[in-house]
Every structure is written in C-alpha cells, then in structure tokens.
Amino acid sequence: MSEIALQAVGLVRRIEGAVSHTLVNGIDLAVNKGEFVAITGPSGSGKSSLLYLLGLLDAPTDGEVIICGQPTSKLSEDDRAHVRLTKCGFVFQFHFLLPEFTSLENVLLPMRAEGKMSEKDMLARGLDLLGSLGLKDHAQKRPNQLSGGQRQRVAIARALSNRPEIIVADEPTGALDTSSTEQVFGILREIADQGRTVVVVTHDPALATRADRRLHIVDGKIAQTFEGQKLAPEPAVAAPTDQ
C-alpha cells in the first residue's frame, strides 16, 4: 500500500563562502504516494531550502533525492528540468504567474512546454482545472486583475496541469487572508486525497494539523515528527476556524 513517491537520503545543503552556512543538515525522509506532509519550523530553519531540494530546484551538496524511484543526483540540468516539468508541481508564497498572460495561458504553460497534448485537450484541461478551483469566470483575466487568493489558486492549477505525482508548496497561504487560506488548504488536502503527494511548508500549526504527518525542522534537521493521533481527524480540524 505504501508506495514511496518522494524520498530524501542524507540530504545536506551547504553554502560555501567567506562564512559557510549549512541550510539543510542531513535529512532523511520518505513520503508515500497520496500522503500530505506539512513542514513547520522557526524562521530560518531551512524549510524552504529543503523544499527546493525536494522539488529539484536546487541541488544538494550531499545526499540524494529520489523521485518516483528515480535517483536525481546524477541528472543533467536539462533532465532535472524535465523532471520538474512532468513530475513535480511547485507553488510558492508569491504566485509567480507570468504577468502578460491570462490565467488560462498561465495554466497552459507547462502543458505547452511539454507539448504532448493537442491544443484542444490542453484547453479543455486548463478550463477544467480552473473550474475545479472555482476560477471558471476568471480564465481570461490577467494576474493583476485577480485577488491574491485567486492568483494563488491559478498558481495551484498551473502546478497541477501536467498531472505531477508530487506537489510542493512553500507557504502557499503566507500572503492570504483566513478564508483564502482555508480554501487553499482545502484544495491541497483534496489533491492528496486524490492520490497525489503533497509537501507543504507552513507557519500555521493549526493548518499543519490537516496534514497526514508534520515534520518540525530546527537548524536544518528534523527535530520532531507528529503523526496519527497527534494530528486530529478532519472534522476536528474545522473546529478552530469555527470559533
């Protein structure tokens, strides 16, 4: 049952320079397919750095990231790009949409870059994704015509467009109000329930309780892991927001 989608082995990221700095200091991690993992920790603890490594945006100084059974440390830059394009969807705190393009065009971008689908299928999938995220009426708007929450949902739709196995998100709700935050987390939860692997960095411990597992990071290391009974089941999570 527990097929591993994303694995980190002895992951280290060090920055050499006048003052050397270790951002990630020996992390071992295995995330199952369909699992929703939250990463918490104090500011500067290395959460983002870990996420960049897991999403192949950055290369580790030492250790290995295995995505869907494929070790990635020996891949060329172009091959890593291809893994990002097809297997790994990224969502950042800032939406990072291309400003000159509409929501729909932004969502189509990864599909067009891969170029496997017909234009008609891409369009259908793009509209479908936007619709499922409640953005049906905003497909033709450009980022500056959308609210923060809407932009972030477009960014999620874009991350999903190539049907990646893994979604990594770095404080995706950091800039959003409570209701948008709630909505975005609901969506990420749903994505995981549909069988995708989700790794989210968040500062909000309440939100982290909606994950299947929570890793607390301090100084580039996993300090604590919360799992099972520590994370209350779904209905209980809704309680804090009802207050």
Binding site: L57, A81, L85, C88, P110, R112, A113, E114
Partner: protein, 413 residues
Amino acid sequence: MAGNLLVNIAWTHVTTRVRQTLVGMAGVAMGVGFTIMMAGLMEGSQIDFLRQLVDTMPHVTVQDERRAAPVQPADREYGAVQMSNVANVNNRPGIRHPESMMASLRSWLPGDVAPSVRTTAIIDHGGRVGITLIGIDPRLEVRVSKLASQMREGQVGDLQRAPNAVIIGLALADKLAIKTGDTVSLVAGQGTQVSSTVVGVFRSGLKRVDEGQIYATLGTAQVMMGQSGIINELRVRLNNPLIADTIAKRVEGQIGYKSVSWQEANSDLLSSFAVRDFIVLTVMGAMLLTSSFATYNIISTITNEKRQDIAIMKSLGMRETSVRSIFIMEAAMIGLVGMIAGWAIGYALCFGWSQITIYNTLTGTNVPISIYYSPLHYIVAGGISLLCCTGAAFFPARKATRVHPVEIIRGAS
C-alpha cells in the same frame, strides 16, 4: 519543447513594449536603409564610370609588341656569352598580315575587330600640344568603337572627304580654339609635317581622351609614322566587355602579340575602385553593427525586467536554452520588421537620389545621379543586420537565463 509557446512568449514581450520595440526597429531600419542607399549610390557611380570607360576604349587592344623583350641579335650570335649594356633593337615592326589575322579572329570572336595605327605627334594651331594620333578605317571603326555616337560636329566618314583630315576632341578644340573646317599643322617626332583639316569634333567624356587623342585615316597616320602600310594595333570590341580579360588571353595565345584588355589597361583605376569598395563596405558593416546596438539595449532591458519570469519558466521545468531562445527570437522579430522597414527606407532613399541631377564632369551635362538597384544589396544588408541583431541579443540573453531560479525566488519572497 513546443516552439510556438516560445514564439508566443517572445511576441508578447515585444508587443507589450511598443516604444522600445519601435526604437529598436527604427535603429535596424536606419542601418539597413542607409546601407542600401550607399550601396546603390556607390555601385551606381562605379558602373556609370565603367560604362563610360568601356564605351570609349577598345575592349581588347592587340599591339605589335611581345610581353618579353625580343631576343637580341647579339644574343643570337653569341649565345654562350653573357652580354650587358647592349642597347635593345626595338623598332616598331607592325603587325604582320593584319588582314588574315583579323579574318581569323572574326571567325570566333564574340564581337568585332578593326585595324589602327597609333603614333604620337604634335598639333599646332597657335599653341602646340602633344597628342596621340590614331589612324582608323572609318568604315570598320564604327564596329569597334562608339566614336560615331560621340561626334559633336561632323561624322567619322568625313575623314575621307579631305586629304589628311582629322577629328579632334572637344577639350582640345577648346584649348587651341579650333573649329570644324580649320586647318591645323601636325608634326611627327622625326620631323614629318603635314597640314590637315579638322572635319569633326568628338566628346567621349574621358578628359584624357578628349584632350589628347585625335583620329585620322590609316594612311595619314602611316605617313606621320614614316612607315607606309604599317598596322600596329588591332582593336577589338566585344559584345560582353566583362569577358575582355579571357578574350585577351586567348587572342594573345593564338596570335602571339601582346593583347591588353581594358581591365588591364586600367588596372590602376580598378584597384583604386577596390580600395574604395573596401572602405565603403567597412563603413556599411559598421553602420549595420551600430544599428544593432539598439537591439542589444532592448534585449538587455527586457531580460533584466524579466528576471523573475525567467526564474519562473526555469522553475516550471523549461530548459535554459528554450528560455534563452525566447529573447533571441525577440531580437529576430525586431530585426525582421526593422529589416523590412529598412528595405522600404533604402528604396525610398535610392529613388529620392535618382530624382536629383548633378553636373557630371564626365559628360559635362546635368545628369540624374545613377543608382544601381540590386536585390543583392537588400539581401546582404538585411542578412547582416539580422545576424548582428540576434548576435547582439545572444549575450544578454545567455547571461540572464543562466541565473539560478532559487536566487530569484528567494529574493522575491
């Protein structure tokens, strides 16, 4: 990776920066336009001049000389002995059997040939001027030179109307105040003096010809030379003057006499053209290069503004070379439209110049500035300009797309 996505992004970048894009296009257009204009003007004037030259001169001149000095009698007699300071015996032998030689040349020559006698003399009419006297056969001459069409007064055939008749150049006539019908005195080197009637005035447009060359019949020239019956030159006119070099070599190979093409006779002039061409080409190249600086600027600006977009595209999984090609295509788009506008500008400038008339020292009249229109000018100017543009974009594009997305993403969060 789907190419039309890249084209689409590139197109969006340039069309959302109308002002910058227009400036870049204007730069390219100016460069291409002025280059085309310069090429048209330069080649126009050159072709004009060469046409004048080719019209005035024989295309190939066969002379009664050999390329190497003839073997001297002393060498023949005393072959084993090294001689020095022996004065060469080198009288003008004339061309042997000119009639049969001309007949044989006519059998294959793509043009025609006529005999002439070239000698020097002094013309005396109040003042004295040294001239080249060319004895011609008036009937044959019309087939090998444009003299007939260069006549301002009288006709070539008039040479046979009066004894010792001559046709002189307009510049000489002006210099010595000679009018048609006047009698002048011709003095040859060895003292022979004849008085002759001026029956016509020509104007070739070449100053040295109009001032220093006069025509008489073969007989008159032979008298002046003191060698009756001699023919010392065969003059060839070709249907296509550009092959004169080849023909001259062939003629020389066949008959052994030194045969000089008009190109060889004017090699000093032609090599000065080559220098001029080189200078102008350098200037045009520099112009095209400079015109692409605007494109360099624009692509630098766009890549700077688009650092975040570059990071996004790379983080989404687009390859670095694909992202880079977006900006190169932007330069190519600017270059392409600029090039087409430049073609229009170039054509308009050429047309404008051709409407202007200036005083031409060759013909002594006001003539339109001659412009040479050639598709090659457009292709070469456009092609070089496109190359310069894409080349100019390459470096900023490479620099910008090398950036690591994490750096930008950290910076923006």
